[in-house]
Amino acid sequence: MKKEITVTVNGEAITHTVPLRLLLVDFIRDECGLTGTHVGCTYEGRCGACTVQVDGRALKSCMKLAVQADGKEVTTVEGLAREDRLHNLQKAFSRYHALQCGYCTGGILMNAVDFLNENINPSEDEVRRALVGNLCRCTGYSHIVEAILAASAMRHGLKPVPPPAETEPAP
């Protein structure tokens, strides 16, 4: 009913004995204490808030068992930044106001990083299509799409579209 597994999470090998039915998302949140991976729908595999990368591929971690990640590399949103330096995509999300409550953000980042590795110069349509598996209840997606396009442009050394103008708060 239990099994010892070793999963490399954000570069660190973690060995735990886990129940066979433990979901990967619960292993990440409860056993590793990494709560940036969220649960937004619990079982339909719809919302994408639980998206992580397993061996570099974006997957919904509520749709995997922890034992299936034995011997694999898992990257969560906490593993994106290098020391104090945010990942380009994280910087773009911040600059383009691509989050409000932030519940969906970790999953979207992990999916979008995999997407940008696969598609080095995506069109707006391709970006929108890549986001089908991630629900965001706040932003209406527009700023998320702009941020992903901007991160892609930054990688090519192109000047990204400027972020929306800051409006001065009323005095």
Partner: protein, 296 residues
């Protein structure tokens, strides 16, 4: 939502080992492929497997292999791989179209063609695409060696196939002669972009040098009890040029002939409208691909 307790988990590395695991575990053992259907069913407690046999480490169940007159797709090939490969261009492009529009990219990174066929959910894309492309499924068991089952026999009903409990699907074989002038396409209509198909349609069209249709296959998914082919389309199109009127006539005949169900997603009448309109467009696309020398 949590799966019921699982007593044992195996991750075999070969087909033989997988079959051995199954034979030893006996009843209540279940293969897990991409988990995109099974995990939902386990968490909803529709199934409560005592033993899980994970196929993800079986290298020999992955990838494509071209033969002189066929293309073999192994069952653990993921949607992402099917959507990206050039091996399907031309005669088998319907399979690539279908794989490219399943669910979302996280689902396509995990889900497999074999899992979809063995699950045979009503609202799914692989069964109808593989039916149109006339696939043959190769099943292996420890006791019985291997047997080949035509897709038409394999698909029995909702969540039901001709696979026996002791069998592993090891190959999906598509006829793929190197003839020119064969093209295929798949499209679906669902409640959301890339969503589960209310209706999904695959068509394969063959044209001769003069541009006349010599052969056509047409199948519909999203309908009960399971995906069905409609031979009448081939009869209507044979010997005719590929005109919008011919495709509309053929799709309308299919819509009239195929029995559809009404449910919370769509009425039976609406499904018939979808078969007519999507069917016409899919035939036109398959024909255009055939005429462009696809299938070479």
């Amino acid at each position: 939502m949590y799966p019921a307790p699982i007593e044992a988990y195996f991750a075999p590395r070969s087909i033989d080992e997988a079959l051995q695991c199954l034979a030893e575990a006996g009843d209540d053992a279940t293969f897990i492929a991409g988990g995109m259907s099974l995990m939902q069913a386990m968490k909803a407690r529709l199934v409560e497997p005592r033993v899980l046999i994970d196929l993800n480490e079986v290298e020999e169940l992955r990838g494509l292999a071209r033969g002189p007159r066929s293309l073999t797709v192994r069952p653990m090939t993921r949607y992402r791989e099917l959507a990206a490969t050039s091996a399907l261009h031309g005669a088998l492009q319907a399979l690539g179209d279908a794989a490219a529009t399943v669910g979302d990219r996280q689902v396509r990174n995990a889900g497999t063609i074999g899992g979809s066929l063995c699950w045979n959910y009503v609202a799914s894309c692989m069964p109808s695409a593989c039916l149109c492309l006339d696939a043959t499924l190769v099943l292996a068991s420890l006791a019985g060696g291997t047997r080949s089952v035509p897709i038409k026999t394999f698909l029995v009903g909702p969540l039901e196939t001709a696979r026996r409990d002791d069998e592993l699907l090891i190959e999906i074989v598509f006829p793929a002669s190197i003839r020119r002038g064969v093209g295929s396409a798949y499209r679906k209509y669902g409640g959301a972009v890339d969503g589960l198909p209310i209706v999904g349609i695959a068509a394969q069209v063959e044209v001769d040098e003069a541009g006349l249709c010599t052969h056509a296959r047409f199948s519909v998914g999203g309908i009960l009890p399971t995906a069905r082919a409609f031979d009448g389309v081939g009869e209507i199109l044979r010997g005719r040029p590929g005109t919008p009127a011919a495709f509309a006539e053929a799709a309308a005949a299919a819509a009239d002939a195929i029995e559809t169900q009404g449910d919370h997603l769509a009425s039976a009448g609406y499904r018939r409208v979808l078969i007519r309109t999507l069917g016409r467009d899919v035939l036109a696309e398959a024909h255009a691909r055939a005429s462009n020398g696809a299938g070479r």
